[in-house]
Amino acid sequence: MSQIPDTIVLKRDRDLAGRENEIWVRRGLFALLCLVPVLALLNLFGQHPGTSNAAGAAARLEVYAPARVRSGLLFEARFHIVAVRDLKRATLVLAPGWLEGMTVNTIEPSPTSETSVNGNLSLSLGHIPRGQSYLLFMQFQVNPINVGHRQQTVQLYDGNRKVLELHHTITVFP
């Protein structure tokens, strides 16, 4: 046998004594790595939108928005209101979680007025006749340093009367 190079230990570096588990550790970690894209495909890290519903005697509300997003991404939230009864002064009230660390790119159609009510964003939508629906689109971008979990409650008012409330949450991944 040729002279063994310095610092090489045959038992360890050729016969791999004491290193038998290394390959399994590596394979295990590799499996863990493969799990990331699988979980991503399952929408664990966003941003596939989902639908949340709420219904009351006067109206139905459907919010189509992602529950998980990542920082920097653009996303849309769609608010679909169906008036079961006449809504004279429909107002959509959004919890601060909709705006915290988010850039609102556009709101279409533009509400007749916007104001703050107890820290919430209040959007006056005007009159929605009975049986008709109102579709409001909001386009957002997640600010890069926005990370965490936020409540995005949506309330629908007719004047000062609360018609319904819908609970929605969003998780922002870094």
Binding site: P5, R14, L16, I23
Partner: protein, 145 residues
Amino acid sequence: MDIALRALFLYAFVVFVMRVLGRRELSSLSAVDLVLLIVLGDAIQQGLTQDDYSVTGAVIAVATIGAVQVASSYISFRSKRARKVIEGEPIIVIQDGGLLETNLKRERLTADDLAEEMRMQQIASFDEVAWGILESNGQISFVKK
């Protein structure tokens, strides 16, 4: 602060990925490996500085990665156990002209890969090789008979 944290996390993640992928990808530059390195770099950049185009942001990112790099090399220098984890250990793949199939299989190396490396080091035949060692940096060193 977030850039420093992102740099720290991404550095650790890339080291983890490179260790898991195996040492051959560290040194070889086949078409597939080249794509991996380019895509890795580009993907990391997006997550590292995001929309920060400032010089300050770049300085923070580079300084953090530089500091972590020195820290990890210091830890490797001080601790043999850490060195094994961070850098890996050499593996003998040829002894006295004979291929060690178990070790080759473990590192996803073929006889053709070895022959190619040997040719690049002006070695024509396995018979000329006393020791072939896959080093921890992914390169293969050959000790002639």
